[in-house]
Subunit: 491 residues, 2 copies
């Protein structure tokens, strides 16, 4: 029995071994195909990546001319190497990144070079014996101080590379100075080749298919608002319908994309901050002035993240294992759906306004509508009769309602921040011809509850009064303020 | 009147101007003091920063010896420069960072140098005219391909610097090859100085007050769990008491720190990932083996972030403007406080277990207790009589309860992940002497509700039965399983 099983084992092992030997070319083929696919995917996700790579190749080939062309070589000698080095290290994906690194490198090389020559002269005063000791101490002190300065958040954000090059150049110049006599000539050669390398990078990155960090930031923030919007627009339907359909807590069939989109916002802080840092180095381009308020985008980004955290919490409710009561859900369905939909519309309109750089005040009605729906919800909750309900089954739906209220507040803040941005960046005002196309200007769409008492209707009237005082611009002649009798009724 | 006011204006302007001229030294003084303060703060926050700066200074001074000492200079010539350059660029704050950059630089220089010499030989076959053209094409192709490869996330995470140096060295060698005859000697010199620079950095960073990325990651993840824990431990008291005290929705007086600590977790993803990337390069050190499961820390980190998102949502409820009903709150107070406190204790115990690298199974009772409290909450909610309540006032408290339920689930997941880590990393088992010190092993502390029907007591008994089957290790002889009669009664 033992022998038999060993023989079987052996046979199986051989089978696996032979199989895997045969499978090797197949595996290789599969590997190659998978690599090719991921290259294709990288390229399709953002075609600018391939273009960037070609630009780097171009810049590098251009500066190689310093070596190939004899007259240039005679002028610069081995220092031409520094142009190659500069191009490789300085060329970044965005214009802002390239400018930031080039300028940092240029200024740091210049100032550290000057300081290095000074240090060399100073050390020379101490005679042949003292010179290396003094230079060693100076290098140690400066390297220590400069390295420590890189821990300051402000320096780290904007001048990190400059400080690095400062240490590098100072050490090189101070140390070489001990050997090389023609220090000034060397420093001049080195600086001019670095300038040539840097200038090549800057020119190519600005004029050949430029990738502007500012534009990327602008688009990223707008697209984050869009992602939030599409979640919120889909949420009402998904939460209230899916439970009606099968009661299993699953989201709608196309739920996957609507489900996941917002998740990328949760960790967007770092990329937004680095884009904003780069954008400050960029000259005016396209629709952006030189001093475009890039910092303000970070504020909108932070508020969008805040909203995404709340969506993360509400998303947990969809998958909750506590079964919500259908009766109670139907009571809040109208106002919750409207809150979420109006928030979605407001965010979508804000995103569109940002993309087209027009005044986002057209989103105000949506924000007001969502706030009105929030008040409706409060009345619905106040009026809800709970005598026959199982309270445990109410909690999940109540939580959804409560988080939606927070989301409404959050969207209002986003809208305010976007309006501030519009003023700071002087987005163009929308022409009056656009206003009739605006989505319904309904200030209030009340729910007629299966009412407990006649007072609730009076409450609704008071709510309308509050809104109209909150936002007097809705009473402008061009707008269609619905009279109480014209109110659109849902449910 | 007009003239008078102009005169006044003038006088005021002069006053301001004179004042500001006088104030200038004061401002300078204030500026210097504020800079000094921020330096002190940086140093106090993490004294390792100053030590790191001193280490960089030391390494740089050491490699300068290559220039100062005549025998070394005769050996290496100007190539000594590359040692200085390597030290400045390669020396990172953590050992892992330094190792990653040094090794990347070493291997990239070696392989690109060899490839460059090959390319040079190949281009030489095309004659004096063809050589620069062929070399230009080769540099262009390789730079483009290598730059594109930097967009692959896996390459970007681990080999980004290596690819950069690869492009740099290949271009330099291929291009210089056209001029410099003794290419192999040059490449050899350059490689050996780079190795000397890299080795100096590696030795200093490992042996002089090392900062291990792995240890930082380990500590960061544990401290994140602690931050969550202190929020949750404080939450119950803050939410239920502050409302009782003044009803204004303000948190306890020491609330500020307990309020803000968890916020840093929300954006911890990038720093954790980069630490984990660096940690993989580090040799075994202290309590960590060579192949310590660093990747698993990212899993715990992600779960901790998930929990932080929920805390962010629950934190919004503290500041909510809707006033919660005291009556209803008192009904859920006991179980909610216990859920939050037990979650906090579980997380604190997990953090301690991680820090001491001991088996975290001692936290299981806390997790079980929080789950039991969750069940209590469900019974309390089921049993709650809602006839006289204003439902709107119940919603905020219900939301808190509902999010706490999600937090309990989240903490359970964190505990599972920490147990997995403990197995993967072979944390040492706790000695049996520790077990009596464990916090109360109460499996279930039921609330006696002002009951609606006699069934609820039966339910509690069923709950205990469920728990004991869920976690059979609680029935070991050493543990004190409370009999149903001994149950601790709250409220």
């Amino acid at each position: 029995m033992d022998i038999e099983s060993t023989a079987q084992e052996k046979a199986r092992f051989c089978g696996i071994a032979c199989g895997s030997a045969k499978a090797l070319p197949d595996m290789l083929k599969a590997k190659v195909i998978s690599i090719a696919k991921s290259i294709m995917k990288l390229e399709q996700d953002d075609p600018r990546r391939l273009i960037h790579s070609l630009k780097v190749g171009l810049a590098l080939t251009l500066v190689s001319l310093l070596y190939y062309a004899r007259p240039l070589y005679d002028g610069f000698g081995v220092s031409g190497m520094w142009a190659v080095l500069t191009v490789v290290v300085v060329f970044e994906f965005t214009v802002g990144g390239t400018l930031s690194k080039s300028l940092n490198r240029g200024f740091a090389t210049f100032s550290a070079g000057a300081l290095g020559i000074g240090a060399d002269y100073f050390a020379g005063l101490f005679g042949k014996q003292g010179e290396p000791i003094v230079l060693g101490i100076l290098v140690f002190l400066l390297a220590t101080a400069a390295t420590f300065s890189r821990f300051f958040p402000r320096i780290k954000a904007r001048y990190d590379y400059g400080v690095l090059i400062f240490i590098l150049t100072f050490s090189l110049v101070a140390v070489s100075g001990y050997r090389v006599d023609e220090l000034v000539v060397l420093a001049h050669q080195r600086l001019s080749t670095i300038i040539m390398g840097g200038a090549t990078c800057m020119l190519i990155s600005i004029f050949v298919c430029p990738v502007w960090a500012g534009e990327d930031l602008h688009r990223a923030v707008a697209s984050n608002l869009e992602k939030l919007a599409s979640y919120l627009e889909g949420f009402g339907g998904a939460y209230f319908q899916s439970h009606e359909d099968d009661g299993s807590g699953v989201v709608s069939k196309d739920g996957k994309s609507f489900h996941q989109g917002y998740k990328s916002i949760l960790n967007s802080k770092n990329s937004e901050e680095s884009l904003a840092n780069f954008a400050r180095w960029e000259p005016g381009h396209g629709r952006f002035r030189l001093r475009h308020p890039w910092k303000h985008y970070l504020k909108i980004g932070a508020l969008a993240r805040q909203c995404a955290y709340q969506i993360e919490a509400i998303n947990g409710c969809i998958d909750s294992d506590i079964q919500a009561s259908q009766e109670f859900k139907s009571k809040i369905e109208g106002s919750c759906k409207r809150m979420s939909a109006e928030c979605g519309k407001a965010l979508k309109a804000l995103a569109t306004a940002m993309k087209t750089m027009t005044d986002p005040s057209s989103t105000n009605p949506h924000v007001e509508n969502s706030k009105a729906a929030m008040k409706d919800l409060k009345f619905a909750l106040k009026a809800a009769s709970l005598e026959d309900e199982d309270f445990l089954a109410i909690v999940p739906a109540a939580t959804v309602a409560s988080i939606l209220v927070e989301i409404v507040k959050s969207v209002e803040k986003i809208s305010e921040a976007a309006n501030e941005l519009s003023q700071l960046a002087r987005f163009k005002k929308v022409e009056p011809t656009v206003s009739p196309e605006k989505p319904q200007q309904l200030l209030h769409r009340g729910i007629i509850q299966p009412v407990l008492d006649a007072d609730s209707n009076d409450n609704v009237v008071i709510a309308i009064h509050e809104i109209s005082t909150d936002s007097p611009e809705n009473e402008k002649p061009g707008h269609q303020v619905p009279k109480p009798g014209q109110r659109f009724m849902e449910v």
